[in-house]
Amino acid sequence: MLAPLSWLKEYLDITLSPKELGERLTEVGLGTEKITKIDNDVIFEFEITPNRPDLLSIIGIAREIAAIEGKKVKYPGVNVTHPRGVIGSLKPKKILPLKIKTNATINPRFTGIIIDNVIVKESPSWLKDKLNLIGQRPINNIVDITNYVMLELGNPIHAFDYHKVKDHLMTVEQAKGGESFKSVDGISYHLPKGAVIISDSETIIDLCGIKGGFNSATFKDTKTIFIRVPVENPILIRQTSQALGLRSNASSIFERGVNAGGTIDALKKCVDLIFEIAGGEIASEIYDLKKEAFEPWKLNLRLSRLKHILGIEIPEKKILSILSNLNLLPQVSYPSFPRKRESSPRLDRGSTKSGMTESTIECTIPTYRNDLKIEEDLIEELARIYGYNNFPKTLPVGQIPMQKIPYFKDYRIDEKIKNILTSSGFSEVYTYSLISEKDIESVGIQPEKTLRIDNPTSREFEYLRPTLKPNLIKALLQNVPNNEKISLFELGKVYKGENLDEAKENYCLSGISNNKNYFEVKGIIERLYEDLGTKENPSMCIEIINEGVFFKLNYSKILSKINLQKKFTPLPKYPPIIEDLAIVAKPNIKTVELMDEIKKQNSLIVDVSLLDQFEETRTFHIIYQHRERNLTTDEVAQIREKILKSLKQKFGARLKV
């Protein structure tokens, strides 16, 4: 939303400098994105939050400035006794026929009037300049006036060419879906089901709350107009706007909730300007079709609740002045009789009117502030105008909760795992969860059996990765031009399941290296398992690929098996006997089989490892140890005998001589 300082100044005197004003407005919730100086003016660019339709108008922004500067806004005047008619009551001299059929559910309020004998032409330069200043292209005087009044007051207005409305019939209804509609700027749309439209006796003439129709628009030859100032249903407008991907100033206001009490004022202001700029005379009573009164509502604020939530006590005088600067007409009521001891201390909000037991401020909420619905909303009003940066800072006083929590995650385990990998030479990467079809196919997975995004930002990021492999391969290749030794790992989620019913996300720990061989990688993982107090054979998790050695571990599974409860084992008091046995065995016999066979021969063998391997000879390093006494050479000789016998029987292996 753009707002020129000169325009804002029409409604109040502004004391703050543009920079100070921008900072203060940001603090109170009107995010100031940009302040631009041009000629003799300053243009503010604001980001409007979804709860504040009123700030999509110059008068709304002026009211906000008034609230922070402690001033009152001068409302834009309307010439109530214009020579062409009494606009205050808008009594027509003649009446043109018009039949309106509407329905309060899809169109809560329909305000309008017919004006005859207007002259459509270029707008005067003051009007064109103003519109240009805030990026609104001038079209003709009638359209420009409706835009101007919308920008000033925040109620969208549409002007129809009265004579182009067939049979002078306007029916507000919902589209069946698929109907064709040509908008005022000449673009055709296929309407989604449920879009609120106005039809005459033949065709659709308006896409309500979003864009007017080409066939009923105001052009040079237009002589009679119908001005419509509606209140539209926010949800219906939003659904249609989303379905068409079509937004307008009007739709942004309607989907946030327009000032439902402001249609008559906007209509009068519009008529006033039309008389001044385009001439003409009113030719109907004011139409105002509605089921609700659309009047200001009451909202109570308990002073105790205010203090309880804010943590500070704002002086009552200050409270009243803030609320009153926001036009909320605060009325304080004190307990009408001495406080009694109540059997139930809990009070419902709003039950304070009669039998009130605490000081309460009753506010009257203007219809343009439909974001103020509950007590907490008023508390925010006070806090923001008081200034968040004026609050003291405290730390929570409650007890630290001791209970177990659902979804608990112990980040120390992640840290431990990553520390082992980094100290082994692997660097950590974070890659995207979303990958392309090509990525998935590159590792031999079928895209049709992979979870997919319905509305990806691009084909590059369309699928949920079922493995970390393609990203790690790409990461390695990216580093090849600048590095010789590349070892990378990632601990991240992978997404499994062929469709959403089976969808499951797991943490996966994967790595890739082009400078470590299979056994080095395997050793690192073995060490990782040892440190986590679990014992697994990682052979199945490691593969040799073109780019190097790749591993993947199911982290969620590791988590379920780890045991970080360490227990000290006293050191042995007696020395071990250590010997190396060179065993000759056929290459097809697996090392792990030989080792297991050696190990199981006697419980005095506390460790067996592979020391060396050359052609058919594998040298095993064997440690014999008894915890209570010294071993004798005889004992060891017997065990050795048993080992050799068993290896010979099972594998045809022998001791190298």
């Binding site: 109170v28 923001r384 940066n389």
Partner: protein, 345 residues
């Protein structure tokens, strides 16, 4: 007797193998082979044995002596060789050392673990939840019904529902870690102090300060007596712990449907030191931590009584915090696996 000889041998051999210098080896030699050394004393005792046992034990004693002497000699020559080797080359001590080949922990992890620790000091526990989330937990329980305009600020990526029973539009990639508020609060009662680090996804065009995947650390505290000043104090404490005591922090009003009052937190941009740059959209400030007092509608949705308990919630933009911490001018650097970046951390 036999046993004690073997013990002497084993003890001597292991000591010799462990020794690292010549002086220690001299001491070991004296301790075992010296005139009153352990082996010498043992040999003297052989004389006290019955005659028939003496030859056998004597032979064993000789073998033990031989093993110890040989081991000692071997070790001495090893050490002498090493010393002479170094001396021979006359090392240039100014040459750089040989660095161990150690990898690098990603800056995101480094900061994340710090964040977790700092919150732990305030009694917050970490929770971890799904990224594939329902519309209900991501939006509806947080007071953002369907067709609420606030959904525009969090454009959503929807999961393809082909071959499944899921209604299109109901399952999404979470747009905020706030989705865990409902999941946790529905299962446990206050008091609660929880943080939720995690990845989020939005339909967003990528630029230097926005990504379609980004990290947040959600946090929420629910208790009997929680005040807005507690929220300000907690944010202030956390950010100063993470970014340094001297950083500049300011608060502003904002609107998120799941908080009221709503708070936004800015810190002075570290990339340009508040001068204005492309990373902070020329404002000199970077939005880092949206927050607020939990909206009564959210408390009601998880069956808490808003008149009895209240709370605050916040979300730290972790990716942005990392870039601001290290003065990185582009969020995309965090997902770039270039070792020349990673090795800086």
């Amino acid at each position: 007797m036999e046993e004690s000889l073997i013990q002497i041998k084993n003890a001597a051999v292991s000591l010799i193998l462990e020794a690292e210098d010549l002086k220690t080896l001299d001491e070991i030699k004296l301790q075992f082979l010296g005139r009153s050394g352990k082996l010498s004393l043992a040999i003297k005792d052989i004389g006290k044995l019955p005659k028939e046992q003496r030859p056998e034990i004597g032979q064993l004693a000789n073998e033990v002596k031989k093993v110890i002497e040989e081991t000692l000699a071997q070790k001495i020559s090893n050490i002498k060789y090493q010393i002479s080797n170094i001396k021979k080359k006359e090392i240039d001590a100014t040459a750089p050392g040989i660095k161990p080949n150690i990898g690098h922990l990603h800056p995101m992890s480094q900061v994340l673990y710090e964040v977790v620790d700092v919150f732990k000091s305030l009694g917050f526990k970490a929770a971890d939840g799904p990224e594939i989330e329902t519309d209900y937990y991501n939006f509806e329980v947080l007071n953002i019904p369907k067709d609420h305009p606030a959904r525009d600020t969090q454009q959503t990526l929807y999961l393809d529902t082909r071959n499944s029973k899921v209604t299109p539009g109901e399952v999404i990639l979470r747009t905020q870690t706030s989705s865990m508020q409902g999941r946790v609060m529905k299962k446990v009662k206050p008091p609660l102090r929880i943080i939720v680090p995690g990845k989020n996804f939005r339909y967003e065009q990528v630029d230097s300060s926005h990504g379609f995947e980004f990290w947040q650390v959600e946090g929420f505290l629910v208790d009997k007596n929680v005040r807005l000043t507690d929220l300000f104090g907690t944010i202030d404490y956390i950010l100063r712990q993470l970014m340094g005591q001297s950083i500049k922090i300011k608060f502003a009003t904002t609107n998120f449907p799941f908080v009221e009052p709503g708070v936004d937190t800015y810190i002075e941009c570290t990339v340009c030191k508040g001068q204005g740059c492309s990373f902070c959209k020329m404002s000199g400030w970077s939005e880092i931590m949206p927050a607020g007092m939990i909206h009564p509608n959210v408390l009601k949705a998880v069956r808490y009584n808003p008149q009895e308990v209240g709370g605050f919630a916040f979300a730290i933009g972790l990716s942005r915090l990392v870039t601001l911490r290290y003065q990185m001018d582009d969020l995309r650097l965090l997902t770039n696996p270039d070792l020349r970046i990673l090795e800086q951390f």
